[in-house]
């Protein structure tokens, strides 16, 4: 049975009391906390300390902070050297630069060497907004999840971002943590479970089987929950929403259970449809439990300037986009099975 976490979530999710806060803030606080309890933790940043909120750590532990300048390849490989000497390095930048620009260094010097370097890629997805397509990483999950030994985490809010950073330090090998630029609704609470490799249900009940499963990750978990509520309340369709905060290793049992139960899944992510979380889920299902899957993600395209809302709407990543996907996948389930 997939753990149901709905009662441990923020009770204000469907109210106008819901606060939106920064994931990066959670990450920065998490790093600071780690620094206080573990002297092996070091942080490297490529000229983005304020944007990545590594400045908290840098101010308190200047001797354990390395400013490498605009040089992400050097940042990854230097971190590898530090890890080889027993440190637990966290490298932080925008996802488009790290892992965007330093993939081979991550592959060879970190993963191939099996060293515990933790890569924080912030400003992932189109919700970066005004900076435009050049700065909106939509390929980073694909780049990271194909690497042997890499763990890929994609927290959905500030609290999960902090927990992800804390958990990453305890993972033996390399870890990639994907974060958004924008403030995202605070969905979870301190008591919501966060275990690397474990998915949990954020919407739905085990009282009756669901007709549709939505697997969402990162900033779009909230959109998935909004869509699920509309489907239930307006259309009488029972839905379960899974928060997949670990993209690799996949929680196979939880995903298979949801697939068997519903026979129709939607994956939701702020990433290319190709190679991302939806692909990972599809790879699993193709071999173990082939059901209809509809991917909500960017369809072989680049981002552009705009507000986060405009862009989510344009690329059909918001609740309307998810509802449209729901109609498509439920039609197939009903008509083609």
């Amino acid at each position: 049975m997939i753990p149901i976490d709905t009662f441990r979530l923020n009770p204000n999710i469907f109210t106008d009391q819901l606060a939106a806060v920064s994931m990066r803030e959670g990450m920065g606080r998490g790093l600071l906390g780690l620094g206080r309890i573990d002297g092996r933790v070091v942080v490297l940043c490529a000229d983005l300390t304020d944007s990545t909120k590594t400045d908290y750590f840098a101010e308190e532990f200047p001797e354990r902070f390395v400013q490498v300048g605009v040089a992400e390849q050097n940042m990854a490989a230097t971190a590898s050297g530090m890890a080889a000497m027993g440190k637990i390095p966290f490298v932080a930048s925008f996802a488009i630069f790290s892992p965007g620009r330093n993939w081979e260094q991550i592959r060879t010097t970190v993963c191939y060497n099996d060293l515990p370097v933790k890569i924080i890629g912030s400003h992932a997805g189109v919700t970066v907004g005004a900076d435009g397509g050049s700065h909106q990483a939509l390929e980073d999950v694909a780049l990271m999840r194909v690497l042997p030994r890499m763990t890929v985490l994609s927290p959905c809010d500030q609290i999960e971002a902090r927990k992800a950073v804390e958990a990453a330090a305890s993972v033996e090998g390399p870890v990639y943590i994907r974060l958004s630029r924008i403030s995202t609704p605070l969905l979870t609470t301190e008591s919501t479970s966060f275990v690397v490799g474990r998915a949990s249900l954020f919407y739905g009940t085990n009282d009756r089987p669901a007709q549709l499963g939505i697997i969402a990750t990162g900033s779009l978990v909230y959109q998935a929950m909004l869509a699920a509520r509309i489907m239930e309340e307006k259309h009488g369709i029972t839905v379960k929403v899974m928060n997949l905060s670990t993209i690799k290793p996949l929680d196979q049992e939880a995903i298979l259970e949801l697939a068997r139960e519903t026979g129709a899944l939607i994956t939701v992510e702020e990433h290319q449809q190709a190679g991302g979380m939806g692909s990972a889920v599809s790879e699993l299902l193709a071999g173990r439990c082939p059901v209809w899957v509809e991917k909500v993600g960017v369809n072989d395209d680049f981002g552009q300037s705009g507000t986060a809302e405009e862009l989510l709407r344009h690329y059909s990543l918001d609740k309307e986009g998810i509802l449209a996907a729901a109609i498509r996948v439920l039609y197939r389930k009903q008509e083609l099975n």
Partner: protein
């Protein structure tokens, strides 16, 4: 620091010849691999493993050892031969170079062979790793004085990553970091100054705020003295531009960029070993 006397120098020279022979033999057994680089760097690698490095082949994880990062992983046949000769593993393993299941992977993989400080092959990131090691060591309060060495090819100075690392090392004043550039002036596609000119190379490093030295990479005395000078510099990293002859020791291979990634056939092996063992006909086999 130990002084090198004449006797020691001669021993090192003889050892380097042995290593060249082992390089040729292991390449022949492998049937593929790089010939010019390992022969060209045999002297420098010998100087490190038999004289300069503080290491313990029987205890490769010894925390206080010096670290030697081989950035240009493709010259590993010479590294492997030196490791075998100093007792990291038995010499007959050299025959398994590049073969299935062998700890002597085609390019070094640290998980397969204790004593390797890193895995390398893709060029340009070794200096970063050595910089990271030196930085991490400085954070450790209980640190024992140790040196961090990085062997680089001149070809990989084409890579921006190398210069990013060079900037960081200078910024952090990593005085216990010594880089050695194998200045053999060839790379896969041709001569370095035709593919991507590096000169004035010493000025480049000097302007990057490194202490720079230029030596004959086949002159043990000169090279060892340069490393010792690098060890004595207290506020900067040191780079030694070591001029070497690619394919050194075998006249057919010397200075020919075509031998960068080629392996000798049986006849060429026989000829090469004869030339190495007789020091080019100066002594009897």
């Amino acid at each position: 620091m130990t002084l090198v006397n004449k006797e020691k120098l001669q021993k090192l020279e003889e050892e380097a010849q042995q290593i060249r022979c082992l390089v040729i033999e292991s390449l022949q057994s492998a049937g593929s691999g790089h010939t010019a680089g390992p022969l060209g760097m045999a002297d420098i690698i010998t100087a490190f493993y038999f004289h300069l490095l503080r290491h313990d082949p029987k205890n490769p994880e010894w925390p206080d050892r010096d670290r030697l990062v081989l950035s240009n992983g493709h010259i590993c046949p010479a590294l492997y031969a030196a490791m075998a000769r100093t007792g990291y593993f038995s010499q007959d393993k050299l025959k398994t170079l590049r073969k299935f299941g062998s700890p002597l992977q085609g390019h070094p993989h640290r998980e397969w062979l204790p004593g390797l400080e890193t895995s390398s092959g893709p060029l340009g990131s070794g200096l970063s790793q050595a910089v990271g090691m030196a930085l991490a060591d400085r954070i450790n309060e209980e640190q024992q004085e140790k040196f961090f060495y990085c062997l680089l090819s001149d070809g990989e100075l084409n890579a921006g990553n190398t210069w990013e690392a060079a900037m960081l090392a200078a910024k952090e004043r990593l005085y216990n970091l010594i880089a050695v550039v194998d200045r053999n002036s060839i790379q896969i596609d041709g001569y370095t100054e035709e593919i991507m000119p590096l000169e004035p190379l010493r000025d480049k490093w000097r302007n990057w705020n490194w202490h720079t030295l230029e030596v004959d990479g086949h002159n043990f005395e000169e090279f060892i003295k340069a490393v010792e000078q690098g060890q004595a510099v207290f506020n900067k990293p040191t780079v030694i531009l070591a001029h070497t002859i690619p394919g050194r020791g075998v006249s057919e291979f010397e200075r020919q960029y075509e031998w960068h990634g080629r392996t000798p056939d049986r006849k060429q092996v026989r000829q090469a070993l004869k030339e190495l063992r007789t020091l080019g006909g100066k002594i009897e086999e």
